[in-house]
Symmetry: C2
Subunit: 313 residues, 2 copies
């Protein structure tokens, strides 16, 4: 089997997007409509044993999170969600309480973020649970924030704090004792809150050039903006925003906060670039962590480790 | 775990479609646009061990068939395809030839039927292969053929012949000797050709009231039109169109052709209803197999078996 990004590269070469459409290579496809809006579409597959362990997540949390992972791609373009489709492959031994609770979690996030379920598919699975969600959104024509539009000299920014979800996962997998801190981190892992409003505000802010959501950790995600924009980046690891809970967790259990923040993934925060003179006017709370550069390399200032982020295969 | 249709019924109750949108319960969702067209969307999940056995289908055939299953839902509404999204969960042990051949099959059908790949997702699977495709189409506003619009007295019609795919599957699973007949049937199983043009012509024909594609066998599929339309049906099993190859196959190997035709599924032919006086004017080759009735029961004339069609769980 090929590496994930090599395989995606092959698919992209074999399936060039039709004229006017942004196809493979960003958080969402962008399909212009005749009414002055673009349609945004993203699809994500969650597989038991790869993305989650059934006994470690409640069906309510899984339903919420499956929706969150997808709506985060709409947030990443600065779009407005319009609807969703849900395909489920379920083992026969699942009980109907599991199904009801999954639907309750999905229902809660779809109502809160405004992406009603419009259709789907259900089928039996001989092995684990498979979930595939396709989510739709819209954005004013040409106004979606993409990965390939960063400029050299742009400041690199993130919303929120990074690594909380990864620390929460570590607490779950290692069965660490629960405290106020670990519960908060676990909550960020199970019930992420994508930055939909912030994404919309950033897409409407002058000087914001490129954006994506942080799903694999910026050690991986930032490389997509670099590659798509043909640029490099310099990131000061000392500037990475870390929560108090995460810092306390790492101190207590001997974990490396920077590694969790850069390689852990599943933060569903936003990573964006902005021209320096526009930064002071941004209404969205954020942290500047570095600068886009002309050299096509990723330099971590303040560390001699080459952080890479999560790879699916 | 609940039965498939009970579970879908629960989802439908929990997620009512927004005003103006046709959501769960038909081949595609129908989303009106401002340009005089409706957007059609359908999603299908194919799971190794449920929908296919990896050693019994080539990756090229699987790529073609995954596309066919989906585009058949657009055909079922009389729509025009516009694009597709492909999510793949793949075991790490797959070789890259498999991936390339799968993409070649998907590429061939997507070019032939006109649904370019616009995006997707790739991920690792700890067990078998999972494929989720979301396909888009369009139809003039309000002109899609739905399941809930049959009228009492309508003739029930099908395109092509039924049961060929099921006979082909039987030949594969039982390892029956290959002949011209079995090869033709196996070809219909592996490389189905959805009735896209025919669906478009039927949607533009006066008097055609309801339509869906035949994926589970009409023993199951016709019940959807009955339930959605609040009607019953009388079908003459002696009128079911059977191919010469399928009849010869059943004679040679002792299979029941009517059971294969009504319960086998995966024909990807069209099942539609038309008012009797419009039938002679239809340009699309078809066979009349029965009549929609006011009684909410399915009566098989010429047989005392209650055929049911394929159920996923």
């Amino acid at each position: 089997m090929k590496g994930e990004f090599e395989f995606i590269g092959d698919i992209r070469k074999a399936f060039p997007a039709p004229q006017g459409i942004t196809g493979i290579g960003d958080d969402c496809a962008i399909i212009p409509q005749q009414n002055g809006w673009d349609t945004l579409v993203s699809t994500d597959m969650l597989v038991e044993g790869t993305h989650f362990l059934k006994d470690d997540i409640t069906p309510y949390q899984l339903g919420w999170k499956a929706g969150a992972v997808n709506i985060s791609d709409i947030a990443a373009m600065g779009g407005y969600p319009t609807g969703s489709f849900l395909a489920l492959a379920l083992p026969k031994k699942l009980d109907s309480d599991w199904e009801n609770e999954f639907l309750r979690g999905y229902g809660d996030i779809s109502r809160e973020y405004g992406f009603p379920l419009l259709g789907g598919d259900t089928t039996a699975s001989p092995d684990g649970i498979g979930i595939c969600i396709t989510v739709f959104g819209k954005a004013p024509h040409g106004k979606s924030l993409r990965r390939n539009t960063a400029k050299a000299g742009d400041l690199i920014c993130v919303t929120g704090t990074l690594g909380d979800s990864a620390a929460g996962l570590e607490a779950i997998l290692k069965g660490l004792p629960r405290s106020r801190e670990t519960e908060a981190l676990i909550g960020r892992h199970y019930l992420p809150r994508p930055r939909l409003t912030e994404g919309q505000q950033l897409a409407a802010s002058p000087g914001v050039h490129a954006m994506m959501d942080i799903s694999d950790g910026i050690g991986s995600d930032l490389r997509h903006i670099m590659e798509e924009s043909g640029l490099g980046a310099e990131v000061d690891v000392r500037a990475i925003p870390l929560s108090e809970e995460m810092t306390a967790f790492c101190a207590a259990f001997g974990s490396d906060p920077v590694r969790l923040a850069l390689e852990g993934g599943e933060d569903y925060e936003l990573l964006f670039t902005v021209q320096p003179d526009s930064d002071p006017d941004l209404k969205v709370p954020h942290t500047v962590i570095g600068t886009m550069t002309k050299e096509t390399a990723l330099v971590w200032k303040g560390s001699d480790i080459d952080y890479c982020g999560y790879r699916h295969f």
